[in-house]
């Protein structure tokens, strides 16, 4: 009995000590976790996200960290590579919460990956803030409580080429070919919004083909698009596919007047890999250092100076996502996840990406622009009031 009593007392003491140590550890740093694609087909996006997240955290730590319970605490960012695989994203998110003790999370890139991590965060009631997930695909999954996304809306993106052609009075034969992957956003943009908008604008959809996200050979569908004589070709594909498809369009002797390649034509390596074939290719965008947002020009300069690479808009959405989350932790003044989540909901501020204010669907829309590759540089060509270059039309023929 006496032994049992002593054992109980000892166990209680150990538990108390462990609790004290744990809380002391928790108070030493604020852990934010992120699972992003650093390898696999989407690694081109992950590299920018990593820099954006790390830079925002570095800046916060330079200022002493985040003020919590009256004390400034440094932030530690833990990044895991999800290998462009939603299953790995889900596993990484679990690990970030259970092994790394992340208090809150930052998202991956593209709907498949962001949503996979967000579903785990939602189940564990942990706030997660993400860019890089088109809003329609994000909203369609469920009613979110702990997941927050600031990005463009697919409707805005998909209608942009048609609005641009109308604004600039571009003359085509009004025939459209749509080639889109069967991923969540490809299915929405290529399967629904592009055909509907085309019809509404008086265009005829001559071809609408979808394909899995691991295809590399597009010989038949490119030949079909060529045979329709479509002047407008709309593609929604990830970078490796967009690069392969652009080459195959050239080698099939197919040169439409307008070529839009959503997603795939976004990273700089699209232009590097395709060389002159990139000239004239359009892709939806939402950010450029020339935009009048706080710190926009400076962020791009810092990226280019740090990495010796050309900036991408993903540095802005990832930087802003990290800032939104850290501002919410500061506003909550505690590491209580519920209170941090409530503070995210109240976000209403201008960030490097523009104004961020979440609506009832936990989303904040970023206005869309159209970028065009011209001599290896992405130039904003639409809308007119934000354009920093002239539209190259028609698409130059491959030589």
């Amino acid at each position: 009995m006496n032994f049992q009593y002593k054992l109980t007392k000892l166990s209680t003491a150990v538990c108390l000590l462990a609790g004290v140590v744990a809380s002391a550890h928790a108070a030493d740093e604020i852990v934010i976790g992120a699972s992003i694609p650093l390898s696999g087909p989407l690694a081109g996006f992950g590299m920018y996200q990593k820099w954006g997240y790390e830079t925002a955290v570095k800046d916060q730590n330079k200022a002493g960290g985040i003020l919590v319970d009256g004390k400034k605490i440094p932030v530690r960012l833990v990044i895991r590579d999800d290998k462009t695989d939603p299953n790995v994203t889900a596993g990484n998110t679990e690990s970030l919460l259970s092994r790394d003790n992340a208090i809150a999370l930052l998202g991956s890139c593209t709907p498949a990956l962001v949503n996979a991590g967000a579903l785990v965060a939602e189940r564990r009631k942990v706030p997660i803030v993400a860019g890089c997930d088109p809003l329609g695909a994000f909203r369609s999954v469920r009613k979110w409580n702990y997941a927050w996304v600031m990005f463009f809306d697919e409707g805005d993106l998909a209608t942009a080429p048609f609005r641009m052609m109308s604004d600039y009075g571009i003359s085509t034969n009004k025939k459209v070919a749509i080639l889109a992957d069967n991923g969540p956003d490809g299915a929405v943009v290529g399967g629904k919004i592009w055909p509907e908008t085309a019809k509404g604008g008086g265009y005829t959809v001559e071809q609408n083909t979808s394909f899995p996200t691991d295809t590399q050979q597009f010989t038949s569908m490119v030949a079909q698009a060529k045979s329709t004589g479509a002047d407008v070709v709309l593609v929604d594909a990830i970078p490796p596919q967009a690069i392969a498809m652009r080459k195959q369009m050239a080698s099939a002797g197919f040169s439409p007047k307008v070529l839009v390649m959503e997603k795939g034509a976004e990273p700089e390596f699209f232009a590097q890999a395709t060389g002159k074939l990139a000239d004239g290719v359009l892709v939806g965008g939402y950010w450029d250092p020339s935009f009048p947002y706080p710190g926009a020009a400076d962020l791009a300069k810092r990226f280019e100076s740090d990495t010796k690479q050309t900036q991408s808009q993903h540095i802005a959405d990832s930087h802003a996502a990290a800032q939104v989350l850290m501002d919410a932790i500061a506003a909550a003044g505690t590491l209580d996840r519920e209170k941090i989540n409530a503070a995210i909901a109240k976000t209403n501020k201008n960030y490097v990406i523009g104004p961020v204010k979440f609506d009832a669907t936990n989303t904040s829309a970023i206005p869309i622009t159209l970028m065009q590759w011209q001599s290896g540089k992405a130039v904003v060509v639409w809308p007119k009031d934000r354009a920093n270059g002239k539209l190259l039309f028609p698409l130059p023929e491959a030589k």
């Binding site: 590299m47 050979q217 038949s220 569908m221 060529k226 490796p240 080459k247 050239a250 080698s251």
Partner: protein, 292 residues
């Protein structure tokens, strides 16, 4: 579902036939490793990607044209592969198929990660003027690179056939393939034959990788797709059967195109895998009888 017009169908089938040549070159490396060494080389896809990277850098830094540089890249990869055979495969001789297979699986992961660390995960493509030029043959247009790839592949497959059927090394290779024990008793250095066979397989994969990297795009993780399709071609053509691999590769290219025309380009691999299962069930020895 309406079928596309004649030009599209004919163009797709011609493209499939030509691309099938390159597929057979890729599969040939796997086939000879499997036929002679009983080695399921799961790193075959990564060796293919290695070839593409080598050619990419030779072009960008030394200006060596990818097609003219094919023998050089093949030789480089063959030489690089030799010590790996000695270190990883040779010690496992006579210990069944599982141990070497798992070793090559581990080797594939290491290679993939090394390429990721060294070259990043960016998508690349080998730039050459002929890579994006169309070739019109009457109403049918095919990519010029497919035609070049076809002739290069057929020539290389023929070279491998000549080495195997007309040289002293080929005699030793065939003896080692049939009965390694008996071959060793007759004085054949089976270990040396296996090492050279492994290198030849790696060279075939690397040269196929150049053709793929020039026609399409590649990343460090591209290899897996071509490994799968190579297995299907090896089974269709018969393990270790050089002529069978060529025929099966071309058949695979054409049938994939039929699948692409009927179901869409995204279903090319589905057709290949169905063929693989059918071949396993109906003609496990391959569609072409005999062995090289």
């Amino acid at each position: 579902m309406s079928l596309p017009n004649f030009e599209v169908i004919a163009g797709s089938l011609a493209s499939g036939l030509l691309l099938g040549g390159s597929l057979s070159l890729i599969a040939l490396g796997l086939s000879i490793s499997l036929g002679v060494m009983r080695l399921v080389n799961l790193a075959h896809g990564e060796l293919l990607v290695c070839g593409a990277y080598l050619s990419y850098f030779l072009l960008n830094y030394l200006g060596i044209d990818p097609i003219l540089g094919l023998p050089l890249v093949g030789a480089m990869v063959a030489v690089i592969a030799l010590p790996f055979h000695r270190l990883l495969i040779a010690p496992l001789a006579g210990k069944g198929m599982e141990a070497p297979m798992m070793t090559m699986f581990g080797f594939s992961i290491i290679l993939q990660n090394l390429m990721l660390l060294s070259f990043s995960a960016d998508t690349r493509t080998i730039e050459a003027s002929y890579a994006t030029q169309p070739l019109a043959m009457g109403p049918v247009t095919v990519p010029k690179i497919y035609l070049i790839g076809f002739f290069v592949s057929v020539a290389l497959v023929w070279c491998v056939h000549m080495v195997v059927s007309r040289t002293a090394f080929g005699r030793e290779l065939r003896a080692s393939s049939g009965d390694p024990g008996a071959a060793a008793t007759l004085g054949v250095d089976v270990r040396r034959v296996h090492a050279i066979t492994f290198s030849m397989g790696a060279a075939c994969a690397a040269m196929g990788g150049i053709l793929i990297g020039t026609a399409f795009s590649f990343t460090p993780s591209t290899g897996a797709t071509y490994l799968l399709i190579s297995f299907a071609i090896v089974v269709l053509g018969g393990v270790g059967n050089i002529f069978g691999t060529l025929v099966a590769g071309i058949a695979m290219g054409v049938l994939q195109s039929v699948g692409a025309v009927i179901l869409g380009d995204g279903y090319r691999d589905l057709v290949g895998l169905i063929l693989f299962l059918l071949a396993l069930a109906l003609r496990p020895g391959g569609i072409v009888s005999g062995r090289a």
